[in-house]
């Protein structure tokens, strides 16, 4: 970890952009019953609501520079508290990756590789993740930059063919056909799902130069992912109606399957598959990285490959054992509803208290 250099603006932007788009790309349909046609607005609002929490982390980074959030806790509340907090952090990251792996694998099985065993697909992804993060963070961040650009190009290259024949504006009118309560419920759920990016930010805050001064790097990443994500939902809704869109979990692939030019140009869903693939690789890698760094904090070692493989097994084995899309979907929904954001807030509160205690101690010594 000590060898990791500082992140640039583009790196932070891409890492945050990619880490927002995790399980949310599958579970966003959970809110559709509550939000109906306003699902895309609720998604944008929900993702944007993550910004205050991200700024909170960056502010803590200003008060306690060159430290992850767990190191901040360590400085005021002690090593034991910090190590204890790292354990649920590792588990949460593992659960996020398990849900992502299972949902991605189901998509691959359903649309592309019906006869390939799921463990092969999962193993490939976990091994790729291990390979990507085994080097420096900056190298991984550069890879994420490339993946983010490729992913977005893929997505919109495919959907450009939807215009104008497959676009039905009447499907998204009226924009608000739900109650405020439904809209707020949907937005809050999306905030919970998008707060997966905070798990990464709690670690990489250490590598952001002048984190609070550069809050825009993170904020713009979150906003852009919100805009892109809500546009994607909007396009899917205009193509296949909100009534159908809310029933499915692989909206992008399903919508792209409808695209056809003449008799022979079809199968544009492979482009969308590419985007889902990049998101899955990115998300699993990020979860591996976060868990790895936290494990180093618990065990006190520095970037051990054995630990990384243990983390990989911690994600891979339960993923294979779970082996069902439905359970993974509800696991991701549960995490988004009740775990990720509350846990993050809890850690941030402790980190804030810790910094307060540290500063108070420093003040009393100075006196």
């Amino acid at each position: 970890m000590q060898n990791d250099g500082k992140l640039t603006r583009e790196m932070v932007f891409s890492l945050i952009f990619m880490s927002v788009l995790g399980n949310i790309v599958y579970t966003h349909t959970w809110i559709d019953n509550a939000t109906d046609r306003s699902a895309w607005v609720a998604s944008l609002a929900g993702i944007s609501l993550v910004i205050p929490f991200a700024v909170w982390i960056l502010y803590l980074g200003k008060l306690c520079p060159e430290a992850t959030v767990f190191e901040m806790v360590d400085k005021g509340l002690g090593k034991i508290v910090s190590a204890v907090l790292c354990i649920p952090f590792i588990l949460i990251n593992a659960l996020v990756a398990i849900a992502q792996l299972n949902m991605y694998t189901e998509m691959v099985k359903v649309f592309f590789l019906q006869n390939t065993p799921i463990w092969i697909i999962m193993l490939s992804l976990v091994l790729m993740g291990i390979m990507f993060i085994s080097g420096e963070l900056t190298i991984f961040a550069r890879l994420v930059e490339a993946l983010a650009i490729l992913g977005m190009l893929n997505y919109f290259t495919s959907f450009i063919f939807a215009f104008p024949n497959n676009i039905n504006v009447e499907y998204i009118i009226p924009i608000f056909d739900t109650s405020w309560l439904g809209f707020i419920q949907g937005a809050i759920f999306i905030t919970g799902e998008a707060s997966e990016c905070l798990l990464l930010l709690m670690i990489i805050v250490r590598f952001i130069p002048d984190p609070f001064k550069h809050y825009k790097w993170v904020s713009y990443g979150i906003i852009l992912s919100g805009v892109i994500f809500s546009i994607a939902i909007l396009v899917i809704m205009t193509m296949m109606s909100p009534e159908l869109a809310k029933r499915i979990a692989f909206g992008g692939v399903n919508a792209a399957k409808m695209l056809q030019i003449g008799d022979y140009v079809r199968g544009l869903e492979v482009f969308i598959f590419g985007t889902y693939n990049f998101i899955a690789v990115g998300k699993v890698s990020v979860c591996l990285y976060c868990s790895w760094i936290a494990m180093q904090k618990v065990l006190g070692s520095n970037k051990s490959m054995i630990q990384l493989f243990i983390i990989g097994l911690l994600i891979f084995v339960p993923s294979v054992l779970l082996g069902t899309y439905n359970k993974a979907y509800f696991l991701a929904v549960f995490m988004g509803n009740y775990v990720t954001l509350p846990f993050t807030i809890f850690i941030l509160l402790l980190a804030s208290i810790s910094i307060f205690i540290k500063n108070k101690k420093a003040g009393s010594i100075a006196k």
Binding site: N115, L123, I130, P174, K257
Partner: protein, 410 residues
């Protein structure tokens, strides 16, 4: 060093796992399905599934497979209690893996459309091997017969012919293309019932081919005949309720804003000499449905605008020159003709079939979402037949050809 070895191991495992493709199939080893037909016998509660396969040229054996040239595909049928059993039986007689990726058309028999539309939609919905972009049609009578029809004048399969006919139906207006996805949408969206094109075969009734018949799986005999796509089948919920004739189908297409480019003739009383009827070609058509509340009751406004060309004028009783006044009179004639088609569709859909195939309920929802959800969604099927519909047709004759005068015969 340890790290390098670990990374090398990862690369090795990745290479082995990624290269070992479990899903690899040679093209010669797949049976490519072009058309699927489903029939239902209500007396025995049995479903018959018929599939038309394309045989790759290298493996074609026209004699043993029953096709006269092999180009028209092989048609197999299987009968079972459930759709899935029938599907499984079809695979029993196929030495190749059935592949649905290039399905062109899905045909539902008339009786099947009364009983198992949802079976088919759900099967398709859960197993994405079938592309949603395949056309969905309802056969007048037996769907198996339609798929087994061979047009001796062309080397194309019946699936290809039906697909082409559905695609071209916009140029006659007597039907318009509907895909499997469209049907699913219409089933899911409130206040909008399903309407799909009708396909008719002129072939004789199908019989299992002699010598190749089993009790429940058989190679369907090909019968010579023609195929025609004309009219629409209307559903209420997931049940077929009746047909729309050509005139009513044109009206339905116009109300729904389908982009029809078709020929239309002037509306004249019965018994009019055909020579006195004017011809028009519709260049473009636009339709918009607006819902409003008048004295607290829903009312529908249908606005249709047409741009047309004049294609016959010489026998008309009007002036020699095609003056602007004359054009206005002709536009009025076309307008009446269009309005009569729309009224015919409304009478059929609203009063006779009582099925909202126009999507008036969906238009009302878009205008009054809250009111729809609280008051109208559940009772719409009951009030729909009595909802007043006001039709406005605007016609513009844009092109009259190269002559400004009528042709006067000496």
């Amino acid at each position: 060093m340890k790290k390098r070895i670990a990374l090398l191991l990862i690369l090795l495992v990745l290479q082995i796992s990624i290269c070992g493709c479990w899903d690899y199939t040679e093209y010669e080893n797949i049976a490519q399905v072009e058309g699927i037909a489903v029939d239902f016998d209500n007396s025995t509660k049995e479903t018959t599934m018929t599939q038309q396969y394309i045989v790759p040229k290298s493996t074609k054996k026209s004699d043993s497979l029953g096709g006269s040239s092999g180009e028209t595909g092989i048609v197999y049928s299987a009968k079972a209690k459930t759709l899935f059993d029938a599907l499984s039986k079809l695979q029993q007689v196929m030495i190749k893996r059935i592949f649905y990726g290039y399905l062109k058309v899905f045909i539902l028999g008339e009786e099947a459309s009364r009983y198992n539309l949802m079976d088919i939609i759900d099967l398709n919905d859960r197993s994405p091997v079938i592309r949603d972009t395949a056309y969905f049609v309802v056969a007048s009578g037996n769907a198996q017969k339609v798929l087994s029809t061979v047009d001796e004048n062309t080397a194309k399969t019946s699936s290809e012919i039906i697909s082409g006919l559905v695609n071209n139906s916009k140029t006659t207006g007597t039907a318009f293309p509907v895909t499997i996805h469209d049907v699913t949408e219409m089933l899911a969206i409130g206040g909008w019932e399903v309407a799909v094109p009708r396909v008719i075969s002129t072939a004789d009734d199908i019989k299992p081919e002699a010598g190749q018949t089993q009790d429940d799986v058989f190679l369907a005999e090909k019968s010579e005949g023609g195929l025609r796509v004309s009219g629409m089948a209307a559903f209420k919920g997931d049940k077929f309720v009746g047909w729309l004739n050509e005139k009513e189908s044109v009206g339905l297409g116009l109300i729904m804003g389908k982009k029809l480019t078709m020929y239309q003739v002037s509306q004249r009383p019965a018994g009019t000499d055909p020579a006195d009827i004017l011809y028009f070609r519709i260049d473009s058509s636009k339709g918009k449905i607006k819902a409003k509340l008048v004295n607290g009751e829903p009312e529908i406004q249908v606005n249709v605008s047409i741009v047309a060309d004049l294609r016959k004028y010489y026998t008309d009783q009007g002036s020699e020159f095609l003056t602007p006044e004359e054009l206005t009179r002709l536009e009025k004639e076309l307008e009446d003709s269009i309005r009569s088609d729309i009224q015919a569709a409304l009478i059929r859909g609203q009063n006779e079939l009582e099925s909202d195939i126009f999507g008036f309920g969906f238009a009302f929802f878009r205008e009054y979402p809250r009111l729809w959800q609280t008051d109208y969604e559940t009772k719409w099927p009951d009030i729909f037949p009595d909802v007043p519909v006001d039709v406005t047709v605007k016609v513009k004759i844009q092109h009259t050809g190269t002559n400004i005068r009528k042709l006067i015969v000496k």
